[in-house]
């Protein structure tokens, strides 16, 4: 065969070398096969740390109890003791620095999440006190009568 037939091949080789060179420069050094092998662990290792550094917003009820000892203690004794503070008071973020004040959700909608009566046999929902929102004191806020930290009217 005449030698000229190899010329396209040289172009291809040059192209491949070019791509490989670019790849060496472009791909981060920590990209590779990690613990879980090629199928499940081929990735940029630095990303694991990036996810670990993701900012936390919810701090947990113990964090609240550090300062708001009284409120926390009163809640624990009531039927609402199982509810984490931040479910109603909102995520703490970096409270008390930022935000300085949390916005408390006192809406009827919030209470309705648990206390609308649904027929749910085979679910714990059936055991919770439930109302029909179309019948039960329409237009009023729940907190007008019920203290969220001690909701049972008999205990009040």
């Amino acid at each position: 065969m005449k030698k000229h037939v190899w010329r396209p091949l040289f172009v291809v080789i040059a192209l491949v070398v070019g791509i490989l060179l670019f790849r060496a420069f472009y791909v981060p050094a920590d990209f590779g096969i990690q613990e879980r092998g090629y199928t499940f662990g081929y990735h940029r290792l630095g990303n694991e740390q990036e996810w670990k550094n993701f900012p936390e917003k919810y701090k947990g009820s113990a964090y609240c109890a550090d300062c708001h000892e009284e409120n926390s203690a009163s809640l624990v004794k009531s039927g609402h003791g199982v509810i984490p503070c931040e479910d109603c008071h909102g995520a703490a973020f970096n409270h008390p620095e930022s935000p300085e004040k949390l916005t408390i959700d006192r809406s009827r909608d919030l209470c309705m999440r648990c206390h609308v009566q649904l027929t749910m046999p085979s679910s714990q929902r059936n055991d919770l006190p439930g109302i029909d929102p179309q019948e039960h004191n329409v237009g009023m806020e729940c907190a007008d009568c019920h203290n969220p930290h001690n909701p049972s009217l008999e205990d009040m």
Partner: protein, 436 residues
């Protein structure tokens, strides 16, 4: 509540604009793979099919296809970049598309895309180089000895670069070109089949999707690819020939290379004869591949219905109820049965072959649609449906890319590319030497 609705409108997630959910569908389920993913296998199919057609002549020496083979090769090259376009339009991060080449994760079917695509591109480009080397060198000589206008100068520069300095036109050298063409076309067939078969694998290997997951998928895709590729070659070949005839009769020459290559000594009658001969011959091969493609597709449906595993209940509803018109009327009826009969009837004319081919192209497009969109027409839970609505009027860049605008862009791109490519590699150039 009103305020909330306003916010929702501002925060449309990908897929929400064109998906209508019915009954129970998981919160994150949308038609994520929309029109561009319909076009992607369609366009790769056309590339692969056009290449297989050209190889019928180059490898198996089907002399009758000589004229259309050269056209199919150049057209296949023009289609090649367009096969990539839908993917780029679909990616949420198109600028990172290069990552497929940088860190390929070969357990994924998509990862092979960059490499297979490049390999295929290189093979087609090299084959064109060998087929056109004589023409390139001759063009250099001709342009050098001529008073050059600006465009001539540019052409000369392009020819000089792509000749790669190989100017030997001795019979031995041309013989070597011929041999190389044959080898490349031979390698090209499996690579073309792989390029498209693996597009089928992308779908066939998704175990989460009850409609897609079948080992038949790659084979079905290859067959329908060849069908659509041949059909497109028939249609576009016939159209370009009509244009040439018209141009010749008018004494105009819109196709620059005809003039350059000195083939304008053809008469209108010559062209007509050539056109009818090539289109009807090609139509024969179209029929053969159509039979294979339809057989496999029907086998798939029959098998699913007969085995009737858990997912069949929802698939049956999608196939026989929700998508009945799209599958049985548009795809099988208008797209397969009707053109098949048209091609079988005796006395096939160019015009009839063309109309049939257009219907076949439509049928294959509907097949891609029914696979890609149909596969997302039902929830992963088998308890609900999703309906896809192609965005017609774009509201933003996303509804343009994944809407009618994107479709038109993708469909028109190969013809624009071909127009310019044809100036450098005249697809209708008739050389009298037997080599190619």
């Amino acid at each position: 509540m009103v305020e909330q609705a306003a916010q929702v409108a501002q925060m449309l997630v990908h897929g929400e604009a064109w998906t209508i959910k019915d009954l129970f569908v998981l919160p994150n389920e949308y038609v994520y793979w929309s029109i561009q993913i319909v076009l992607y296998p369609y366009m790769t199919g056309l590339v692969a099919g056009a290449f297989v057609l050209s190889s019928l002549y180059h490898v198996f020496g089907v002399e009758k296809l000589k004229e259309i083979a050269r056209f199919a090769l150049v057209f296949s090259f023009a289609l090649l970049p367009v096969a990539m376009l839908p993917l780029l339009l679909h990616l949420q991060q198109p600028l990172r598309g290069i990552h497929v080449m940088m860190t390929p994760h070969f357990t994924s079917a998509i990862s092979a895309f960059g490499i297979v695509f490049m390999t295929y591109g290189v093979i087609v480009a090299s084959e064109i180089w060998f087929v056109y080397r004589k023409f390139i060198v001759e063009s250099i000589h001709r342009l050098e000895n001529k008073q050059r206008t600006g465009i001539d100068g540019l052409l000369l520069l392009i020819y000089r670069i792509i000749s790669l300095g190989a100017t030997d036109l001795s019979p031995a050298a041309l013989q070597a070109d011929h041999k190389a063409t044959k080898i490349l076309a031979g390698i090209g067939i499996p690579v073309a089949c792989f390029l498209h078969g693996y597009a089928g694998f992308i779908f066939g290997s998704v175990k989460a999707n009850a409609l897609w997951m079948t080992p038949l998928m790659p084979v079905i895709f290859i067959m329908s690819a060849v069908v659509s590729g041949i059909a497109l070659c028939i249609v576009s070949y016939a159209i370009f020939m009509w244009l040439r005839r018209w141009a010749l009769a008018q004494g105009k020459n819109f196709f620059l290379p005809d003039q350059l290559a000195g083939t304008t000594n053809l008469t209108v009658e010559n062209l007509k004869e050539m056109q009818i001969h090539e289109t009807t011959m090609t139509a024969k091969y179209l029929r053969i591949f159509m039979i294979l493609a339809i057989t496999l597709e029907l086998l798939d449906i029959i098998f699913r219905g007969y085995t009737a595993v858990k997912s069949w209940d929802i698939l049956r509803q999608v196939i026989y109820e929700h998508d009945f018109v799209k599958i049985f009327i548009l795809q099988y009826g208008i797209g397969n049965a009707l053109p098949f009969v048209m091609l079988l009837l005796p006395g096939l004319t160019t015009r009839r072959a063309c109309v049939a081919s257009v219907l076949v192209l439509f049928g294959v497009f509907m097949m891609r649609w029914n696979v890609v969109i149909g596969g997302q027409a039902f929830s992963l839970t088998f308890d609900g449906f999703m309906e896809y609505h192609l965005p017609i009027i774009p509201h933003d860049i996303e509804t343009f890319k994944e809407g009618l605008g994107g479709v038109l862009l993708v469909f028109s791109a190969p013809f624009v590319i071909f127009y310019f490519l044809n100036m450098i590699f005249p697809a209708f150039y008739n050389s009298d030497d037997k080599a190619h």
